[in-house]
Amino acid sequence: MSVRVWKIYFNIHAGLIYSFLYFPIIILMVFSFNQERINAVWTGFTFNWYETLFKDAELLNAVGNSLLVGFFSTILSTIIGTLTALGMVRFRFPGKKILDAVLHLPIIIPDIVMAIAMLSFYVFINLILGLFSIIIAHVSFNIAFVAVVVRTRLAGFDMDLEKAAMDLGATPFKTLRYITLPLIMPGVIAGALLAFTISWDDFMIAFFTSGVGSTTLPLKVYSMIKFGVTPEINAISTITLLFTMTLFFIAMRLLRTK
């Protein structure tokens, strides 16, 4: 009897939490199609807000910036992160533990600390803030994410395969190209997708390290929110959410492929 009561309780509890997690997202999406501008009451279906988005030059510019930042930071961090993961798995060297800790630190330290540190650094070396400065900062923490994901993939990798390739006459580069990379590719792509999502979604670091004319999408959304809650924000938020959810979904599928 009491076991059944517990079971019912756990089910309800889980139901409530999942509702809590998804309720705001659903509300946001639903209201992005609502005709009413001010009040949160349903008055009818419309695509209006989406249409205005596509006419908003500033917003489109921000999207372009975000794509640029995402693209370049993803490429760089994927290359560096993958090499790092391979290196960390393969080699022993003095100071490995320290590098290991430093490598994971960007994931754990609050992004505001990272953001002001980067800002101070840029000002210190007199770098003019812009897309470039955002990209550099994004690479710093994305290296960590890519390395973690690729290392997870490498955990199931048989190192003898590389030895076999070399034994058959493949140089280290060819071994990497024809054996190692193809086998860890799902991990690399998943890492890249996650890096892109993180970069695409980042507000904090861009907030501190962007310069004139380098507004990214989250910065634009932030200023829109500060200006007042409007259905256009709901619309752009919906697009953003669906975009990253799709990327994440693909990444997870890839990580599970054998």
Binding site: D160, L161, K163, A165, D167, L168, G169, K174, Y178, L183
Partner: protein, 364 residues
């Protein structure tokens, strides 16, 4: 048969992992076109030694020579040596064809050449029609043959095989053993073949190096290793042995005589140079001893001892006797059961006899 030219020689190779010594100052030479075996128990350093020859593992000291050229600064991909890995290490993302073609592609051969060679080798290992399959779609035996083909197709001067038949069932293993031996003779290639299966080594090898805990115990033909083991380890690891130990040891011109308790005397012939300061042990294989119910006429060339049967065990067509001799120790004896007119009984008195030549001398 193999020529007398030296193919591979290993000079003073040592390798340590943390505190484990996997190879301890190993020296050996493998002749050209020889089927050379490295036989040893699990964990004795066989795989380590093969990897050092292939260049996949750096040594702590020592050198490897191939055709008198030092390989020490040659990376694995520039050595004319290929390996069949213990766990096959087939590339899981490539099909059979591409696995086998991998080495040829790395050498930038033309596509037609590659196709011809791959097709030919696949027919040799009896895998025609499997080209498109991925490794996980193959049975253990088929995977093993792909691994073999992948290495053979490159026609290396030396092929290293690391327990290549380990995963196969007995019947398939026996069949593959024969095939491999024929293949090796046909292709005229040097094989260095690692196994922990003494039977495999004894039936296939031209020569065997018996390895134990990182060092080589003895190198010789199967006949030498089996009939004239030099060390206690070889005597016990390769086949079974009855060991006789005593401090009462006498050297004659061409023989050694050992006196056990109760004045039991064991004779042996000296067939190699012995270090007379070392402790010596005499030994005999169980199947070299014959059992009689009555005392036999004394013959000069034979050892003769009396004993009592403690136990009789059936081992297929063989009978296995445990006999207590007068010195108090037990001796194992193996006889074929079909040549027995009057079977022995447990508890019965028996007379053991074997040729002095069959007593071998172990140095400790």
């Amino acid at each position: 048969m193999s020529s007398c030219e030296i193919g591979i020689s290993i000079v003073n190779i040592s390798k340590k992992y943390h505190s484990t010594i996997a190879c301890d100052k190993i020296n050996l030479s493998v002749l050209k076109n020889e089927l050379f075996f490295i036989l040893g128990p699990s964990g004795c350093g066989k795989t380590t030694l093969l990897r050092i020859i292939a260049g996949l593992l750096e040594t702590d000291c020592g050198s490897v020579f191939l055709n008198n050229i030092c390989l020490d600064n040659l990376p694995p991909y520039e050595r004319d040596i290929n390996t069949v890995f213990q766990n096959y290490a087939l590339f899981p993302h490539l099909n059979v064809y591409n696995n086998v073609a991998f080495g040829l592609k790395m050498r930038n051969l033309s596509n037609t050449d590659i196709r011809n060679k791959v097709t030919k080798i696949l027919s040799i290992v009896d895998l025609e029609g499997f080209e498109k399959r991925k490794p996980y779609q193959l049975s253990g035996g088929q995977q093993q043959r792909v691994a073999l083909a992948r290495a053979l197709v490159n026609e290396p001067s030396v092929l290293l095989l690391d327990e290549p038949l380990g995963a196969l069932d007995v019947k398939l293993r026996k069949q593959m053993q024969l095939e491999l031996k024929h293949l090796q003779k046909k292709l005229e290639m040097t094989f260095v073949y690692v196994t922990h299966d003494q039977e495999e080594a004894l039936t296939m090898a031209d020569r065997i190096a018996v390895m134990n805990a990182g060092h080589i115990e003895q190198i010789g033909t199967p006949d030498e290793v089996y009939n004239k083991p030099n060390t206690r380890f070889v005597a016990e690891f390769v086949g079974e042995s009855n060991l006789f130990e005593s401090n009462n040891l006498r050297f004659n011109n061409d023989s050694v005589t050992l006196t056990l308790d109760n004045n039991l005397v064991i004779h042996s012939k000296i067939t190699r140079e012995l270090n007379q300061d070392q402790k010596l042990i005499l030994a005999v294989r169980p199947e070299k001893i014959r059992l009689y119910k009555e005392p036999q006429p004394i013959k000069k060339a034979y050892n003769q001892i009396e004993g009592r049967i403690e136990e009789i065990l059936y081992k297929g067509i063989m009978l296995y006797y445990v006999v207590k001799i007068n010195s108090g120790q037990t001796v194992k004896i193996l006889e074929q059961s079909y040549n027995q007119s009057a079977p022995h009984q447990e508890g019965g008195t028996v007379y053991l006899e074997w040729e002095k030549e069959n007593t071998f001398i172990i140095e400790e």
